[in-house]
């Protein structure tokens, strides 16, 4: 009976895993097919004449390399700024008392319940008056500013766990608040910082709606909107579309697989505290 139960568990899990993974395998397999075989019926899982041609073509087409670099630039800079700003904000909430502290924190938590897209119109109007439309710096500004509430909430808990004695010791040694923040709290919170880094980087890498709305200049596109337009232009060349898609998601999947531990930690710490 015990044995039988285990077999059933494995079977169900494997079946589920197949459903999760088959679409990806199918995408990669299509990306490896010459155009002739894309419309083949019945569909072939293992491509007959696999070729890397599509990857080369996609990589060399319509400024794709530029879009890739734009995305690397925007995602990296937003992540660095997010780290700098939100660790400071969270540090203030974790280690100091100031008027209306919990009220302000409560407002931050409350705004996390409002889906980001609900504010897109006033944010667009604001970005227009600040001259932030159609610029990569505008994307960086939007991604950094939009990440403050969530990351402050996530980091505050970690920063509060640093023992008070360490703060007193820093002060006795003549260090100020900044020394304590930079030399003690940040190094002790590296796992939490890794979580924030990974989540912001991937979130920024994949961001679609804001970039779609504010970027007009073809040279300023990021990968998600470039893929969207690429698919629009090459609607029938699924092999090319998927080759481009695979290139765009490889960094994401690689980061996820390497840093899985931090992923799970970030997700569950947010969940259990919420």
């Amino acid at each position: 009976m015990e044995k039988f139960g285990k077999v059933v568990i494995y079977l169900v899990l494997i079946l589920g895993a197949i459903v999760m993974v088959i679409p990806f395998i199918y995408m990669v397999s299509t990306a490896l097919k010459p155009i002739l075989y894309v419309f083949e019926y019945p569909p072939q899982f293992i491509p007959k004449n696999p070729t890397f041609r599509n990857f080369i073509d996609a990589w060399n087409s319509n400024n794709f390399q530029r879009y890739f670099l734009n995305t690397v630039f925007v995602a990296s800079f937003s992540t660095i700024l997010t780290l700098a700003v939100t660790t400071m904000t969270a540090f203030a909430f974790a280690r100091y008392n100031f008027p209306f502290k919990e009220v302000i924190f409560g407002i931050m938590l409350f705004t996390m319940m409002i889906p980001g897209m609900v504010l897109i119109i006033p944010q667009f109007v604001l970005a227009k008056s600040l001259g932030l439309l159609d610029k990569l710096s505008g994307l960086i500004f939007a991604y950094t500013s939009g990440s403050i509430a969530f990351n402050t909430f996530l980091l505050r808990g970690f920063f509060e766990e640093v023992p008070k004695e360490l703060e007193e010791a820093t002060r006795i040694d003549g260090g100020g608040g900044f020394t304590f923040y930079f030399r003690v709290v940040l190094p002790l919170s590296i796992p939490a910082l890794a979580t924030v880094t990974i989540f912001s980087f991937l979130g920024n890498w994949d961001e679609y709606t804001w970039a779609l709305t504010t970027i007009n200049n073809p040279l300023k596109r990021t990968l998600p909107i470039a893929l969207r337009l690429f698919q629009g232009q090459h609607a029938t060349q699924w092999n090319l579309v998927f080759a481009a898609s695979v290139i765009a998601i490889i960094p994401v999947i690689a980061i996820f697989i390497v840093f899985q531990r931090y992923f799970i930690k970030g997700l569950t710490s947010g969940a259990i505290k919420g």
């Binding site: 568990i9 169900v12 899990l13 589920g16 895993a17 999760m20 993974v21 679409p23 990806f24 995408m27 894309v38 419309f39 019926y41 700003v85 939100t86 400071m88 904000t89 540090f91 203030a92 280690r95 100091y96 705004t111 319940m113 409002i114 889906p115 897209m117 504010l119 897109i120 119109i121 006033p122 944010q123 604001l126 227009k128 950094t144 500013s145 403050i148 509430a149 402050t152 100020g176 608040g177 900044f178 679609y208 709606t209 998600p224 893929l227 969207r228 579309v241 998927f242 898609s245 998601i249 994401v252 996820f256 697989i257 899985q260 799970i264 997700l267 569950t268 969940a271 259990i272 919420g274």
Partner: protein
């Protein structure tokens, strides 16, 4: 530390400035815009119209359809993701090998961008050479001819909902698995000694103990459900003839295709209100019940 309050302000200034600028100010500004015929180019042309943008919504048949579709999406995908996610989590919480591999595979759709998974589903459900039609027609002989999944509004919307469930299972699994691993094993052992079967263990121990997690997941997924946009934008664009429109896709179209920012803002505001009210009810209602 009271003495160092000025330091606190220095640490707060950058983050709070951006937060106020990018979140608080737009909340207020959005409300204002929703009471105007808003002209993006010539601000002096803005006309105050009171609640006209709001009343317009309730007389707009496409808006009502968008609300109906959004509700359907939420009602179908929230329980769909939770049930499958919980099943996988429970199975992974047993003594089996390869947990990390399974977890990684189930989580793959979660980390992949909405744009790419939307492409994949468009391709899988293609009417002429898609894998789904092939399996249903040629392998299983359930259908006699290919179905035009994405051209027909109701099947297209089911594809969008299926994508929502498929993409979300992994997230649910991770959250539920963390909650399950927090349950002390002794509880199960003593209940088993008292003669409880697996279903009773699940029903009487697991479910009550992970109730806060279930509540958390439900609130988050409901917010996510009302927020559905990218998959609709890419797979159907709200079409054919607005039949698969959801609230945000309609809002987006009004604002950024027709430049009716006032109407778009009113739609956004109503959506935010509905989400807040529903979240509040869910939290209230489930909190009370969990006391019993």
């Amino acid at each position: 530390m009271q003495r160092y309050r000025w330091e606190a302000y220095l640490f707060l200034i950058p983050g709070l400035t951006l937060f106020c600028l990018w979140t608080i100010y737009p909340i207020v500004r959005g409300l204002q815009i929703s009471f105007y015929h808003w002209d993006l180019i010539r601000l002096e042309k803005n006309i105050f119209v009171g609640i006209e943008n709001y009343t317009k919504f309730f007389a707009d048949p496409i808006a009502i359809l968008a609300v109906r579709n959004t509700l359907l999406y939420t009602i179908v995908t929230v329980p769909g993701q939770m049930i499958f996610g919980l099943i996988v989590a429970v199975l992974l919480d047993t003594k089996i090998k390869g947990k990390v591999v399974f977890r990684t595979l189930y989580y793959l759709p979660v980390v992949t961008s909405w744009v790419v998974v939307s492409f994949i589903f468009m391709y899988l459900f293609n009417s002429d050479f898609g894998l789904v039609n092939y399996i249903l027609k040629d392998l299983l002989h359930i259908i006699s001819q290919n179905i035009a999944w994405l051209q027909n509004p109701s099947t297209a919307f089911w594809v969008i909902m299926l994508l929502g469930i498929w993409k979300g299972i992994g997230w649910n699994m991770v959250i539920f698995l963390a909650a399950l691993q927090n349950i002390p094993q002794e509880l199960y052992e003593s209940a088993t000694i008292d003669g409880a079967n697996s279903w009773q263990l699940f029903r009487r121990i697991t479910i009550p103990l992970i109730r806060p997690t279930i509540l958390f997941v439900m609130v988050m997924l409901t917010i996510g459900g009302f927020n559905v946009f990218i998959s609709v934008n890419i797979i159907t664009g709200g079409g054919p003839l607005h039949q698969t429109e959801v609230v945000l896709s309609y809002m987006y179209q009004q604002a950024f295709n027709f430049l009716d920012f006032g109407y778009g803002s009113a739609i956004s505001y109503m959506l935010a209100m509905v989400i807040l009210i529903i979240s509040y009810i869910q939290i209230k209602f489930l909190k009370i019940e969990s006391l019993y």
